[in-house]
Structure formats: C-alpha cells, structure tokens
Amino acid sequence: MNVERLNDLSIEALYALAEKMGLDLPPALERIFVVEALIEAFQEDSDERKSSGDMAIHIEEKKFSGSELDEIDASLDAAPCIARRYNETVVHWIPRDPEWAFAFWDVKDEELDEFEREGSYGGLFLRVVRSAGGDDKAAVSFEVPVNDDDDHWYLHLPEQDRYYRLDLCVRIAGKAKAIAHSNVIRTPRAILADSFDELEPEAEALAELSGLSKLRIQAPPERHPSRILGGYDD
C-alpha cells in the first residue's frame, strides 16, 4: 500500500480509517487533508512501534515486511470493491480442520422474493448431513437455523474422518425444502490411523521420535479383544 492506494479509497473508507486510528476529523474535509492527517497519525504510531521492540509475528511474514503503512493496512477492513455476491442459489463449504468447516451460501433474489410472497415462508436453515461414505447415503443430520441476511458460517462438525454434505433449505408452511446442495467434504483424522498395539514396536518408537507428542497427536484407543469378548462373560 502507498499514498496512491490511500487515494484510491473512497472518502467514506478514509473517514472509517481515521476513526479507527482515533482521529476526530471535521466532516466534509477535502480528501487530500484526510490522507495527510492519516499519514501524520501513522507517523506517531510508528514511533510507538519502534519503542515496543519485539513484534511477535511469524517468520514467514518477514519477506513481506517493509513499510510503516503495514499498520494502516492492519487497521483497514474496508469491504472489497467488488460485488459481494453473484445472485445465485448456491451453497459451498470447505473443511478447515478436523472440527470446523466454512460454509457460504446465497439465495437468488427472485427466488427469495417468491418464498416470501407465498406467505408461509418460515426462513432459511442449513442441514448438515453426515454421509455413510463419499456417496449421498445419508446417515445422520442436524439443522442450523440462519437469518436471511447471513451468508456464511463456520460450522462445528461432530466427528473427524467422516463425510458431510450441506443442504441449504427453506421452510415453507412448516415443510422443509432443500434449495441447494453442497459438495461432500471429509473431515481429516486427528488421531493416528492405527493404534499402538497395531503398530510394530519399531514403528511406535519412530513415531515418537518424529515428534508425535510435540504435535499433540494421539493414538486411537487400543483395541483389546478381551474387552470385546468380555460381553460374552455375562
């Protein structure tokens, strides 16, 4: 970012930035003065930055380092200057880790208008469907109500190493109707695929030497045939 790119911002975005930086600017100021005030404010912040010394940021970021405008960037959360949506009925989701997935969706304006016109529109909800495998044979599902103006959520998924699908649904006259289906995702495993009793002793030792504890990776519970057989003792 440079001054030219500050100049690219709308006057509203510049005022929003000034507010974030604690500047109390008179309304309707010429943009050149707003930019100047921002640069000056930044200079003051920069002095603080230098005195604070240690900035705990990731090493990988160092190759991108270099300017005092980084702090302006950090405080700038102006909305992207592109259309937010594509006016289509769609739902997508992306697995983030073994527990969470990011879902985003949209409903075409005309379609939503039609639902609302019907009078018995009961709102949107997401249905998380746990599939038995990579196919669509649904096993378990649960619902997550969402507002009409929501368009993305992080959803907690109950089990690792499972396949899930997401349906975007509408409730009309008390009945649920799926209006879009997502791709099927799989949550990754968070524990070893094999329990230690299934591994050779050498493999277990090498797994430990590979930093298993540091990575906080655990083995699945050991499978003791005697415990399974124990049920027969009764």
Partner: protein
C-alpha cells in the same frame, strides 16, 4: 555407511508483484530485497563451495511467479536502478559514519554488499539469475522443484480438480520453459496436502513432494518409519516428510538459532531510525518509512540496550550453530537408526527468504553446515531426487489433509479476515470452466482473451493474499490483487458473452499481468 542423511529444502517464492503502471511500487521491494540478501548471496555461496570443492547438496523449489519475475526485463531494469540507489545511500552512510570505529566498517560492508550485488547481477548474470540456478541444477548439486503456479493453497480448491490441475499444469509448463526439462519434484504450497492430490500430480509426471509431519503421521496406514523415510501412495507418488526437530531449530522465532542476541537485528533499520529528510530519497515516495536494508544493531539480550552489530561475533555464532545443528541431527539419526533398516532421512524445509534476508547470517550458517559436514562420515546431505533414486521403494501410506501453517490445517488461509475471497475465487473457477467448455477451439484474439482470463483466475488464487490479509501486512495490497483479478476476469467474461473484445484494454492487461506467457486456457476444461 553414514548414520543418516539430511535434505535441506528451500522454498523460494514471492507472489506476482510486478506493477508496471507505477514508476515505483513498494511491494516490488520484496523481490529486490530477496535478490540482494538471499538469491544472489546463495549463488555466491554455491560458487564458493564449488571452487573450494566442498561437497554440498540442496533442493530448491522455485515458484513459477518468482521465476517469472526473475526473468522479467522491466523488473531487471528496476532492480538495477534500485541497486544504484542503494549504492548512493551506502556512500552517504560512509560519509555520515566517517571516523566512527563501530559503524563506519558496517557501512562499508553494506557498500561492498550492494556493489557485489550490482556487479554479479549486471555483469556475471547479465540481468537474469535463472541460468545460474540451472547451472548448478545440471551439475547435480542443486535440485530444482516446481510449485503450484501461483502458490494456491490446494486443499481449499480440492472440490475443483480443474483448478488444481491448472495450478499444476501451468507450473510444469513454466518450469520446462525456464529449465528445458520437466520437474520431478513438486512443492505443495504451505505443505498443503490432501488425499487424492497424488493422482493429479502423477498425471503430470511429477514423482515426489514434501508433506507436513502432521499429515504424514496421520496418514493411512501410520508410516512405518515415522518421519525418517518418505512414504509412497498406492500410485507410486512419494511424499518426503518434514522433520520437526530439524526445522524447529531454525524456524522457532524465540528459540531458533536466528534469535541469538549476537545476530543482526532485522527491525532496527535506518529507514525508521534516521530523519526523513535524510532517508527520504530511499524510502517509499520520499515520505513513507520503509526498510532500507542498512541495519547496524544486534538483536541483543532482552534486558539490555541494543548493542552495535559485530559481524565477526555473529559469523562465529553461525559456525557454532551449524556445529550444533549437525551434532543434534547426528544424535537424532543414531536414535532413529536403531529402529530402521536404512539410514534415517531428516528433511528440513524452510522458506528460502529466511536466509540472508531475515536471518542475516543464514547463508553463513549454510556454508558452515556444508564445510563441517565434509569432515564427518556420519551425516550426508542429499537432494530429494538423489534419495528418491536410491530408495524408490517406500512404505505405502497416503498422508492426511494437513499443512505447515499454524494449527496444522487450513486455519491460516481460511478465517474471518480472508474467508470472503473464496466466494469469488470459486466463482471464477466455475466461470472459467464454463468458458473453456464453451470455446474449446478458439484462436487469434479470442484465444488471447481466454488465456488472459485463465491468468487472472490463477492470480486470484495465490495463497499469499489470504496470508497477508490475516497478518495485516500489506493487507490492502492483497485485497487489491484479488479485486483486480476478479474485476479483470469479469470484464473478460462479459466481453465474451457480448461477443465484443476491447483490444487496447486486453493488450494493456496482457502487458501488465504477463506471467505464464505460454498458458493455454483449455487447462480449465473438465477432466473426462
């Protein structure tokens, strides 16, 4: 026979930051700084080791966007001009510090560095360093790998095989054009892996990659040798596994070698320390303070005042740390070897730009590693390709989805600061696939338009943008890169739908975003 092997893997990557519309552009400095402090010093190290017959082996992933910028004429000229500015500043620094027994020699060292860089870049390498890397590649000392075209974090795009294969194909084509042969190794950006990726990589003749320890250990079945030997997927694609201990010795920001008090402090820079009227001509637009590269202070202890940088002390520390690295790796190898039927391999992947740029003494550390290792028969440095050739058969296991990012999965590239962008990049992929299907046999102007559309789709997917949005550093720049790619693509899409093409605008865009000149938009066609 040695006790163990070490494979050092450097990932050299910068996003496409070429901005011909501006006379100077802040983010282009990323390239200039990396050239000055990492790539050129690395090449000098290679030459020195060769001249002194010190055995060395290194694997480097050169990202297609970086390779494109390293071969670009405009950036070559801009870098040369930037070096001249640095030399001018160095002369001013020599005058400013004249008579100072501590700082004047440091100013002289910077003068020497930039003069050396200028001479090497303009005379020795004739403005392009790619042939120099190729020289060592051909000699077998250095192995070059490719990476995803714009370093997209591939697991996020797994539902679009066309997008992932486009990232792979564009990179393979680019590598062949730069080095005249196909790559064997593929650096998965951020070590982002997911089961199934091996099929797409193998389809392009790629044979191996490096995965995060977490992903490998969670693979199915659990690897027989832990991280001490690669694993192969059922289709034969091999994954080398990052060694946690070897990487953390360097990578840890608080406990790694680069945090030693004797090393040069990265943050204290005259660009921030000296009056603006003095450093003005060498910072952004004369008024935005930036790093200049002139840094005179050591990291120093937490409780003490910053001490002046002492290059001799730091150089001795780099040697000491190299010895420590080899000692701890040898000890680690001995422990692992007791459980293995072949010498354990420790794969240490790092960002190349860590060496020299952030960790100023990093190149000296590398040099000391190779020099010290030649005196021992216990450890051997290998390239990934060399090892793969020696041990083509490996335990069969498919790594789990994981990465080397914080948290071990996709959390760095998918969180509240950056998740909005996937709505757009996904849509661009869908539109691009639709265009490639609708216009499979275009030529002339329409083909140019479609090829440019494909470039914009790839540029929008760079993992650097969500990374920067999350870190807050150059976040506006990152946002603008995504917005520009989306806007450019949408304009092309509309032009094609309306059957009108703005030739002048297209030509301007082709000149601006000139990465992947040989791209073929048909890579986005659905795989049948």
């Amino acid at each position: 026979m040695e006790t163990g092997s070490i494979a050092l893997v450097l990932n050299a990557h910068l996003p496409f930051v070429r901005q011909p519309d501006y006379p100077r552009f802040l983010e282009e400095r990323w390239l200039f700084e990396s050239l000055s402090e990492t790539y050129l010093p690395l090449l000098r190290l290679f030459a020195k080791l060769e001249a002194e017959r010190v055995p060395w082996r290194l694997t480097m992933a050169l990202s297609p966007t970086l390779a494109s910028m390293l071969g670009d004429a405009l950036l070559r000229d801009r870098y040369t001009a930037w070096l001249k500015d640095q030399l001018e500043l160095a002369d001013k620094e020599l005058a400013r510090t004249a008579g100072d027994p501590v700082f004047h020699p440091l100013a002289q060292a910077y003068r020497d560095l930039y003069q050396q860089n200028y001479d090497d870049f303009t005379v020795l390498h004739g403005g392009s360093i790619l042939p120099a890397f190729d020289f060592y590649y051909k000699k077998g000392r250095l192995e070059l790998m490719t990476s995803a075209a714009t370093q997209a974090f591939l697991p996020i795009y797994r539902q679009y095989p066309e997008a992932v294969t486009s990232q792979i194909e564009a990179s393979v084509v680019s590598f062949r054009s730069d080095f005249g042969r196909p790559p064997s190794g593929f650096w998965t950006p951020q070590l982002g892996w997911y089961p199934g990726l091996e099929e797409l990589l193998s389809a392009y003749g790629l044979q191996y990659s490096v995965v995060a320890t977490r992903g490998a250990m969670l693979g199915k079945p659990t690897p027989r040798h832990g991280s001490y030997a690669p694993v192969s997927c059922p289709n034969g694609f091999t994954n080398f596994i990052r060694d946690v201990a070897a990487t953390e010795a360097v990578w840890s920001e608080t406990e790694g070698y680069p945090a030693d008090p004797a090393y040069r402090d990265f943050y204290r820079d005259i660009g921030f320390d000296l009056p603006l009227d003095y450093v003005g001509p060498y910072v952004e637009q004369g008024q935005i303070r930036t790093f200049t590269g002139f840094k005179y202070w050591a990291i120093s202890g937490r409780s003490q005042e910053k001490l002046p940088y002492d290059p001799d002390l730091a150089a001795a520390k780099a040697v000491e740390h190299a010895e420590n690295f080899l000692y701890t790796r040898a000890r680690q190898a001995r422990k692992a070897a007791a459980h293995m039927e072949r010498p354990p391999l420790m794969v240490a992947p790092y960002d190349a730009e860590l060496f020299g740029h952030w960790w100023h003494e990093g190149i000296q550390w590398l040099e000391a590693l190779f020099r010290k290792a030649q005196g021992t028969s216990e450890l051997r440095f290998v390239t990934l390709g060399e090892y793969h050739k020696q041990y083509p058969e490996n335990f069969e296991s498919v790594p789990e989805f994981a990465s080397w990012g914080d948290g071990g999965y996709a959390g760095v590239w998918l969180e509240k600061s950056n998740d909005w962008l996937y709505r757009h990049t996904f849509k661009l992929i869908e539109y691009m696939t639709e265009l490639a299907e609708r216009f499979p046999n275009e030529s002339g102007l329409r083909e140019r338009v479609l090829n440019q559309a494909a470039r914009e789709v790839l540029l929008s997917q760079a993992a650097d943008w969500p990374f920067l949005l999350r870190s807050g550093k150059s976040g506006s720049f990152a946002r603008k890169q995504i917005e520009d790619a989306v806007t450019n693509f949408n304009r092309i899409y509309e032009m094609l739908c309306a059957n009108t093409v703005g030739t002048e605008w297209l030509t301007r865009l082709e000149k601006r975003n000139n990465v992947f000149p040989a791209i073929n938009y048909r890579i986005f066609r659905r795989k049948r």
